[in-house]
């Protein structure tokens, strides 16, 4: 589904990603972990199409198409979804109108007719329940005055509504208390299927107790330096990143 090879990315002449490789297949859940400043959020932003980043080398193929050639909106329409680390507040745009517009544009791109008002509201109701999203919030301005947890839940609600094939969760667990975390994880688990894939970017092993990944990767200094199964996350939790950093830096020194 997603194939990243030798991805190199800079921002303001500073190289952040230094040749990253990653293969994600349908039905898989990948976790990307790593210390601060290793390039985790850069990876998420580049995949979603944020303009400030400059791709200097490498390629990203998504469902046989070159993802990096597409505008952010076309990536979303092709089925890429980024759950933002810091969702934006947009006063004056209602949550529900925003979703209606987004869904209509994605459907139009796929050659599907827009949903009727009734079908749309039914879908909203169904997905609200699935991710336990407060119905009161759907009619409010987009994220305006939402608590941190409500914003993150809104991301998962949007994810449920738009049904992407590849969802990238950028530190969705940060700022969540344990109850909110459980709700968000529960939503994600219900959305998992053989047809879609998840890439979770996280600092902590905590999230992985609730959403169990098929693969865990460690990103350090712009590259994936180790990949494994969920046991790798436990090992990291136990030993910390320093243990990895040291072994990598020693290798590089040689």
């Amino acid at each position: 589904m997603l194939s990243i090879s030798n991805l190199q990315v800079s921002i303001e002449d500073k190289q952040i990603l230094k040749g990253l490789d990653l293969q994600v297949n349908a039905g898989e859940v990948h976790a990307i972990m790593g210390p601060n400043g290793s390039g985790k959020s850069t990876l998420a932003s580049v995949l979603a199409g944020r303009q400030e980043y400059e791709v200097t080398a490498g390629e990203v193929i998504f469902n046989e198409k070159n993802l990096l050639d597409m505008s952010p909106e076309d990536r979303a329409r092709e089925g890429v979804f980024l759950a933002f680390q810091y969702p934006i507040e947009i006063p004056g745009v209602s949550n529900i109108n925003f979703l209606k517009t987004a869904l209509a544009e994605i459907r139009a791109y796929k050659g599907l007719p827009p949903l009727s008002a009734k079908e749309f509201l039914q879908l909203v109701k169904e997905k609200q329940q699935l991710v336990d999203f407060d119905a009161k919030l759907t009619n409010r301005s987009l994220n305006e005055g939402f608590s941190g947890g409500e914003k993150k839940r809104n991301e998962i609600f949007q994810l449920a509504m738009l049904e992407p094939t590849l969802a990238i969760l950028d530190e969705t667990d940060s700022g969540l208390d344990i109850d909110a975390l459980r709700i968000v994880a529960n939503g994600v688990n219900q959305l998992r299927s053989s047809g879609n894939a998840f890439v979770m970017i996280t600092h902590y092993q905590r999230l992985l107790e609730y959403i169990v990944p098929d693969f865990v990767h460690v990103l350090y200094n712009g590259k994936i330096v180790r990949s494994g199964t969920k046991e790798l996350a436990l090992e990291l939790e136990e030993k910390g990143y320093d243990w990895l950093k040291e072994s990598i830096d020693t290798q590089n020194a040689i």
Partner: protein
Amino acid sequence: MITQISSSLYQQLVSSFEDPLHTQETLEERRKKAFEKFKDNGFPTSKAEEWRFTNIQSVLSENYQIGVHLPGQAVNADMAKIEDMDAYRVVLVNGVYRHDLSDIIEEQGVVLSSFIDAAQSETLNKHFAQYADKSENPFVWLNTALSNNGFFIEIQSGKLVQKPIHIVHISVADSEAFFQTRNLIVLEKNAEAQIVETFVTEEGSSKTFANTVTEIVVDENAKLEHYYLQQARSQSSFNNHTEIIQRKYSLYNNYNCTFPGASFVRNTINVRMDDPNIESHLYGITLLADNQLVDNHTVVDHMEPHGESYEWYKNILQDSSTAVFNGKIFVRLDAQKTNAFQQNNNMLLSGNATINTKPQLEIFADDVKCSHGCTIGQFNEDAKFYLQARGIGEEQARTLLVHAFAFDVTERFKNESIRDHVNHLVELGLKHN
């Protein structure tokens, strides 16, 4: 001082005044007095504080003809149509009331006519040039002196007009033309009306410059909803002066919207709250493009106690356009317990756009609540990216964000058809580049 460049128009106006056909006998004294003042002052220059950011020399320097009235000119008033609004329609071409294109209102208690047809009426004689002329605007004096064209609306005591009155102002000329329009709106006690004025340009018209003065009297407990929709093309320039005089317990709401097109627009809207317990709302949406210059000058004059005013203007500027906002709030010594609010927000969508904004509060009473605020900003790129990342195209994302910016104001529009119309014009007026 009058510069060389504007003297040709000035000379024409002087000789035109001396033509006896242009004076109304009963109102002659007022006209003469006004003209003396205009002659003493001339056109304002940018040295005058009220015109500091709005240089009218280039507008005045065109080679205008005066008195171009084109009787019977075929025009397309449907340009001004507002979807789903059932209204009485009145058409003015270069300020001249067109009976052949205007509806007749058969409701009891509603008088609607051309200004000249009302010249003998007691109401007009009572109010003409009694308010606007005191505001020291040379364009008003010029208009008082020379204008015979325009409309007259009188809503009699206790009358609620059943439908909005939609006034369509059409500018059209074969060669450069200057014309003046004089309007009077009087709502007697307990009367209620909705008046919508749309400004359009006939396709293919030459340059025009319209100097319009509207005096509005909102008597005790009367309510007026007043909409301005500036939709003219780039050939058209406007100086519009609106002077509102309110009596106790009355309500006046003005919704002032300007869209891409007209190259020069100066609106002066002065609300005189000349009694206790008056309420006024002024809303503005200005969306500009190309080289437009649009200047909104407002005065909210709290003269007596217990007045409430609420003003909110939003400017959205594209290309090399310029907007000017000046909002004055006066709270006079007697105007205790006044509650006045003013807000002006500006969004600059291009590096070449300019906003000159000047909120101005002068408060002489000591027991009042007044607040004002002003912001200047740009597109929020993060917000745009967020929308795009959900599959919303860039154009649509920009449109959504501009609507969101305008929303605080557009949501206050009482007439839903006009609100939809304005939202639609905002969408059309946004350039997608």
